[in-house]
Every structure is written in structure tokens, then in C-alpha cells.
């Protein structure tokens, strides 16, 4: 999934180093790789096609001709164009000129509307607002209970009615209540619907007519495939969308659907949602999503996720160390539990440039099991701090001592040390922006 675009571009463009010039034919080959990356990320094939045509035009120009590292240059152009297309800047929410701001949350079944509505409420609340949630999904069993529970968790009131009420009336009544009680905003959660369902699409149109929302946010699952464009376009036709919330971004989905929707409807991505816990919705960074769609990895996101569990100071130090490649086994151990807390190591690896492919490797996955991680930890724990800082101190007798102390074989210790050396090498490359193919990294944690 995270096949490295730059690696492939490198290969595609290798022939021209030394020639100093990129011919159209070279760009053709590079663009084939870009196309594949986009399609693997679920970007709609037509969007991918026109995007590539645009990039091609720029790439054949002088920018590339004068470049020293053609692959990087091409990636840069691709990345910039993609960022541009995703809408360079973050767009805020519209506000009602007077009275409560009405926000309608709509989308397909299971896309994450209810959780996103609660996350949005929390975001508004943290910014000093007094939102009201409205439970207008009376279709899915227990959807009302779900929203009520979430409302309770974040201490935001929820307007709800019986399952027999019509969704448009619930929305309308919620709006009246919000006016009366002077809420700053009302967020209407709606039932999931498929754009082919005429009856439900009419319903959502009526709801729009009746409540005149300031914001109509379309909730799109980051994992959506090629149909994303048709779905969003149809919704957009019924109730003009004002923004997109891209959900389930904590997984390994590349989120190409967002690009397709943006390109086809012009509706900007406004927020990203990660995780099931009700935490404020995150603002959207086009450049990061561009990296992710291209499978270029995203060190920024990686570091940010790390910050959730590691305090900022430690994280900065860690980042600095990775940059300088002075990350030693002491650091490794210190971060061990915290890294474990971040959840999936293999998904974290997916975000580090060049490590995505590695994380996919079955050997690596095996190595990342709890058992193997535990063994690695035991080996490092059996070393002295000095040994951890300078692994080259570890000779035969030290090795035997460490193995005995950790209940492993000297060869296991050796393996770990070799792999750590490889990892340091990778980090060095990483900080210099070049990624090699490193075999045998798989056993790093085993």
C-alpha cells in the first residue's frame, strides 16, 4: 500500500542521470508511476488522468530541465500540484450572521457521521461555543442512543425525539430550541443514505430547505473507492455541500477519495477525523494529505501522533535524534513503552518514508508481534547503559552475558545489533532525504 513513489520514480528516471535533461519520454514513464500511486490511493481514474496531464505540462518545462535530482524534482512538482488541488489552505466554518449557526452532517451509511458530529461539537465547545446536537437519525436502531451517550461524554446537550418523528421536524425543532436557548450552533446528525435512494435523498433535500444550513458537511470515509465522486456529486446536487470531513484517517487508508471529491465538486476538505474517542476534529493540512495520497509517508503526522503519548519535549528530542541519526539503544528503550502505547508499530512505520513497504512485509509483521517485541526489550534491558549508547563495546563475552540475562541466544543479540545498525543507517538516510531499500530490517524488533 505504501509503495514508495520516489523509489519508483527514481527507477523510472534513473536512465537520465548523467544526461542532465528530461525528455518527454522520461516524463511519460514517471507519470505512469504517479498514476499507479494515485489509483492505489483510490483517486478516481478520471481525476488521476487530468491531474497527470497538468503535472506533465509543468514537468516538461524548465523546472525539471534545470534540476539536479530529477526524481525529487518530479515528486516535488507532483506534490505541489496535489497540494494545490486539495486546496492550499485550511478553510474555517461559516457562521450565521445572527442566531445559531446551523450545521448539517450528511453522508453514506457507516461513514462516521455520528462520531464526527460529536467531535465537531467538542471542537466548537472548546473554542468557547455552546453547541446543541440534534439526533435526526431515527432510522438506524439505537443511533439516537449513540448520540445521546456521546453528548453526555462531552457535556453537550442533545435534542432528540421519538423514533416516529420525521427527521426534518426533529431538525426544525432543534433549531427552534437552539434559538430559544441561545445556542451558538446546532449540529444535525442525519441517517446514512445511499445516493440512489430517491426517497431518502428527497428527505435530505427537504431538511436542507427547512433548516437553511450555514454548513452542510459531507462525511466521507477515507477508505472509499472509485464511487466516492458519484456519491458526493449526487449529494451536492440535492443539498449544496460546503465542506468535507474525512474520517478514519487513523488507519492506513491513503484517502484518495478526498482528492476525487474535491476535484469533481470543488467542495473543500475542512476536517480530518481520527480515532473512535470523542476528541475535537482536526483541521486539515493539504500538504500532509498530498504526501499520504502519494504514499510518500508523512513524518509530520508521525511526530504528531507520537506527541499524543510522549510529552512534547521528549518528542522533540526523539525527532532531533532521528534527524541526526544519533538515536541509540538507550533512546530506543526509553521510548519503548511509549512507542508501544501508540498502538500499531507497523502502522506507524507506514508513515515513515520508505518504511511503508517494510511494514507490509510478513516477516516484519511477525517481528512486530508482542512476543518478539518483548524479546527485543529483554535483550536491551540486559545491556548496561554504556553498551546501549555504544553497541560497538559489545564483544563475545558481553554478548553471552546479555543473552543469558535475557533468556536468548548470543546470535539473537547479534541479530538485534546488526539490525539496529541498519536502522540507524536508515535514519541517517531519512534525515538526508534519501531512502534506500534496506533488506533485513524485518527482524529489528525480533
Amino acid at each position: 500500500m505504501f509503495d514508495r513513489l520516489t523509489e519508483r520514480l527514481d527507477a523510472a528516471l534513473k536512465k537520465m542521470t548523467g544526461r542532465g535533461k528530461i525528455r518527454e519520454a522520461d516524463v511519460d514513464e514517471a507519470m505512469r508511476e504517479v498514476r499507479r500511486a494515485l489509483l492505489e490511493a483510490d483517486v478516481h481514474f478520471k481525476v488521476a488522468r487530468s491531474f497527470i496531464a497538468a503535472v506533465r505540462e509543468r514537468a516538461v518545462g524548465k523546472e525539471v530541465l534545470s534540476s539536479v535530482t530529477p526524481a525529487q524534482q518530479v515528486v516535488k512538482i507532483v506534490h505541489d500540484e496535489l497540494t494545490e488541488l486539495l486546496g492550499r489552505e485550511t478553510e474555517g466554518l461559516a457562521k450565521a450572521s445572527d442566531g445559531p449557526t446551523v450545521i448539517m452532517v450528511i453522508g453514506l451509511q457507516g461513514s462516521g457521521k455520528t462520531t464526527s458530529a460529536a467531535k465537531l461539537a467538542l471542537r466548537l465547545k472548546k473554542a468557547g461555543g455552546t453547541p446543541l446536537l440534534a439526533a435526526a437519525d431515527v432510522k438506524r436502531p439505537a443511533a439516537v442512543e449513540q448520540l445521546r451517550t456521546l453528548g453526555e461524554q462531552i457535556d453537550v446537550p442533545v435534542h432528540f425525539e421519538s423514533a416516529k418523528s420525521k427527521p426534518e421536524h426533529i431538525a426544525r425543532n432543534a433549531l427552534d430550541k437552539a434559538r430559544k436557548d441561545k445556542h451558538s450552533a446546532v449540529i444535525v446528525d442525519t441517517a446514512g443514505r445511499i445516493q440512489l435512494d430517491e426517497e431518502l435523498m428527497e428527505e435530505v433535500r427537504r431538511m436542507g430547505k427547512l433548516t437553511k444550513p450555514d454548513e452542510v458537511l459531507f462525511v466521507a470515509d477515507a477508505m472509499t473507492g472509485q464511487e466516492a465522486v458519484n456519491v458526493a456529486a449526487e449529494f451536492h446536487e440535492r443539498v449544496p455541500l460546503t465542506g468535507l470531513i474525512l474520517t478514519k484517517m487513523d488507519g492506513d487508508a491513503r484517502g484518495g477519495a478526498a482528492l476525487s471529491i474535491r476535484a469533481v465538486t470543488g467542495v473543500p476538505v475542512k476536517f480530518l477525523a481520527q480515532g473512535e474517542k470523542v476528541e475535537p476534529l482536526e483541521v486539515f493540512h493539504p500538504d500532509r494529505l498530498a504526501s499520504r495520497i502519494l504514499g510518500m509517508g508523512d513524518v509530520v503526522t508521525l511526530v504528531e501522533q507520537a506527541q499524543e503519548v510522549i510529552d512534547e519535549e521528549t518528542a522533540q528530542r526523539l525527532e532531533e535524534k532521528i534527524r541526526q541519526a544519533s538515536f541509540d539503544l538507550n533512546d530506543f528503550l526509553e521510548q519503548f513503552n511509549q512507542i508501544k502505547k501508540m498502538g500499531s508499530l507497523s502502522s506507524m512505520m507506514g508513515m515513515v518514508p520508505g518504511m511503508g513497504k517494510l511494514a507490509k512485509n510478513p516477516e516484519v509483521r511477525e517481528a512486530l508481534t508482542d512476543k518478539n517485541i518483548g524479546r527485543t526489550e529483554a535483550i536491551i534491558l540486559s545491556m548496561t547503559p554504556a553498551e546501549r549508547a555504544r553497541p560497538e563495546l559489545i564483544d563475545g563475552s558481553r554478548r553471552r552475558r546479555i543473552a543469558a540475562g535475557s533468556g536468548t541466544e548470543p546470535s539473537d543479540v547479534n541479530q538485534l545489533l546488526n539490525q539496529f545498525k541498519q536502522m540507524q543507517k536508515v535514519m541517517k538516510m531519512l534525515s538526508s532525504g534519501r531512502m534506500p531499500n534496506v533488506p533485513g530490517m524485518g527482524g529489528m524488533f525480533g
Binding site: 439505537a142 442512543e145 451517550t149 461524554q153 445511499i194 440512489l196 477508505m223 464511487e227 492506513d252
Partner: protein, 311 residues
């Protein structure tokens, strides 16, 4: 078991249920074959068409390359013959062994897993309903103790279907729910125990470990259990479904797939690379939100419906 189920299924067929989503797709593909001469551009167009069905760029290229070769080797000339050859290739890709639902274990334990919102709980309700219509009894376990309202959701379905639901409090240990449900199912002598689990992203190690624990609990009670681990995929999902199938498979050994939401406009083509790579059979498809909207999956029927031309 499958045939028995199939015969007594009163739900829609795959074809009826997915009629809308198929519209246009088959005709566009057929149109490529009817051209007087088929060149590079046409083959590429065929590839693109397949990609719009979410089969992924790799599978699309692979299948078109094979088809091209076959057309050349066998001197296939007529559009109909080309279409037939492609149909065969696609059906073969979906051949992943028996699609029958396990049965006869007294109780047969079915664990239902998948990412958030894919359609697990609804599919369970539909499955229990189908089994009931086939004269088989089931008990449902509400092992999604995490998502707000999830227990209520399953209970509401249980009430509607008149099926017993074993549940604990929100936040309880899913493994404990499963353990209790297993006891209750055995005592009641039901044919099936169907376990609803919380949606989780396949990359979340902690939550995947929780699922592994549920499997261990079942395993300890009955070495053969769970007899089925059904992964529910959202039919609208693109290439990430591959990652889901791989990682859920590695963690808990998926034995079959339910492809939900095929009443959408999506073609669900990602099942091709999945079955080809992992050889896990698709067992059912979901075609709507009511209890009758579950159909037994049949590769030939699925591909034929996919390629059917509009009238």
C-alpha cells in the same frame, strides 16, 4: 449447508439486489469489444473501466494482459467470445474454495469482525434471520461493548427478530461476554452462536489484540471454535479492503467475507484481488438495510451480473 440455506433463502438474489449498481458498467465493457479493431488504447480503456469497479490498478493490468494474450493465442475474434473469456478469467479469480457457511457444530460459532461502520451488526441480524427461515436457531452475543449504543442496536434487532441476545454492560470485557454467551448457547442447544464485535481499524494493534483474545477464549472452550470468522467489508471500500483482509486474516484467521452495501453504486471489485491473493471466499453480500437484504454469494452470478449489458 449453503445450498440448504440458499434454497430456503427468501431474500433477494445478488442480481436483484445489485441491479442499480451494475447499470452501465457491463455495457461500457462490452462496447470496447465490439470495436472493429482493438488496439493499445482500447485495452487501456478496458483497464480503466475495470479500475472504476475498484479492482485496483494491479489486478486490472494483470487481467487485461492475460485476456490480451489469450485473445491472441486462441485467435478469439468475436466480441461475444472476448467477453466470455473475460468473464471466465474473472470467475476464476473469485474461486477461493467453498463458500458454504459452517454448520453442525452444536453450536456453530460465528465471529463477525470488520472495520468501523462496515455493516457488521446489520449483517448479523440478516444472517440470524436467514438461518431462522432455514429452520435453524441462533443466539447473538453483543461483544461490541465499546461503541456507544452498540448493545442497544443489537438488542433492538434481537427483539425484532425474536432472537435472544447475551449482553453485558457498556465497557465490559468482550471476552467475558463471549464466554457467557458460549455457555448460554450450549445450554440452550442453539444451532448458531453469532458474535458481534466492535468495529476496529486493522492497523490498531491493541484492538486487534483484544480480538485475538476473544478467539483464544473460544478456542479454549472448543478447539474448533470459532468455526467461522466472517469479515464484513463495506462494498464501497476501495483498495484499503485488501489491507483489511490481510490484517484481520493474520490476526484472527478470516474464513469468509460478507460484502455489505452492494445496493450502492459501487461494484465491489476489490473482492477480486482479495480472493486472488488470500483465497478467502466471499460468502454473503448485503444488499440493503432490511433483514431480507442478504444473499448467498455465487462467483458466477456475481460476475455475470457485473458484466450484464443494459437492455
Amino acid at each position: 449447508m449453503l445450498n440448504r440455506l440458499k434454497n430456503r433463502f427468501r431474500g433477494k438474489s445478488v442480481e436483484e439486489g445489485t441491479e442499480k449498481s451494475r447499470r452501465g458498467f457491463g455495457s461500457r465493457i462490452a462496447a470496447v469489444f465490439t470495436r472493429s479493431s482493438i488496439g493499445d488504447d482500447d485495452w487501456e480503456e478496458l483497464e480503466d473501466l475495470l479500475i472504476t469497479g475498484d479492482v485496483g490498478p494491479e489486478f486490472a493490468l494483470d487481467i487485461v494482459t492475460r485476456l490480451r494474450q489469450q485473445v491472441k493465442d486462441e485467435g478469439i475474434k468475436t466480441p461475444d467470445a472476448m467477453l466470455a473469456a473475460m468473464q471466465t478469467l474473472l470467475i476464476e479469480a473469485l474461486d477461493a474454495g467453498s463458500g458454504e457457511l459452517a454448520g453442525g457444530h452444536g453450536p456453530t460459532i460465528v465471529l463477525v469482525v470488520g472495520v468501523n461502520g462496515s455493516g457488521k451488526t446489520t449483517s448479523i441480524a440478516k444472517l440470524a434471520h436467514s438461518l431462522k427461515r432455514a429452520g435453524l436457531t441462533s443466539l447473538l452475543a453483543a461483544a461490541d461493548t465499546f461503541r456507544a449504543g452498540a448493545i442497544d442496536q443489537l438488542k433492538i434487532w434481537g427483539d425484532r427478530l425474536d432472537q435472544r441476545v447475551v449482553a453485558h454492560q457498556p465497557g465490559a470485557d468482550p471476552a467475558a461476554v463471549v464466554f457467557d454467551a458460549l455457555g448460554a448457547a450450549t445450554a440452550a442447544g442453539v444451532d448458531y452462536l453469532i458474535i458481534d464485535t466492535a468495529g476496529r481499524l486493522q492497523t490498531n494493534r491493541n484492538l486487534m489484540a483484544e480480538l485475538e483474545k476473544v478467539v483464544r477464549v473460544l478456542n479454549r472452550a472448543d478447539a474448533g471454535a470459532p468455526h467461522e470468522v466472517l469479515l464484513v467489508l463495506d462494498g464501497l471500500t476501495g483498495q484499503n479492503a485488501l489491507s483489511q483482509a490481510r490484517l484481520f486474516g493474520e490476526a484472527v484467521g478470516v474464513t469468509g467475507i460478507i460484502l455489505a452495501k452492494l445496493d450502492s453504486s459501487s461494484k465491489g471489485g476489490v473482492v477480486f484481488p482479495i480472493t486472488e491473493e488470500l483465497a478467502v471466499p466471499i460468502k454473503f453480500v448485503g444488499t440493503g438495510e432490511s433483514i431480507d437484504d442478504l444473499a448467498v454469494f455465487d462467483p458466477t452470478e456475481f460476475v455475470e451480473a457485473l458484466l450484464r449489458r443494459d437492455e
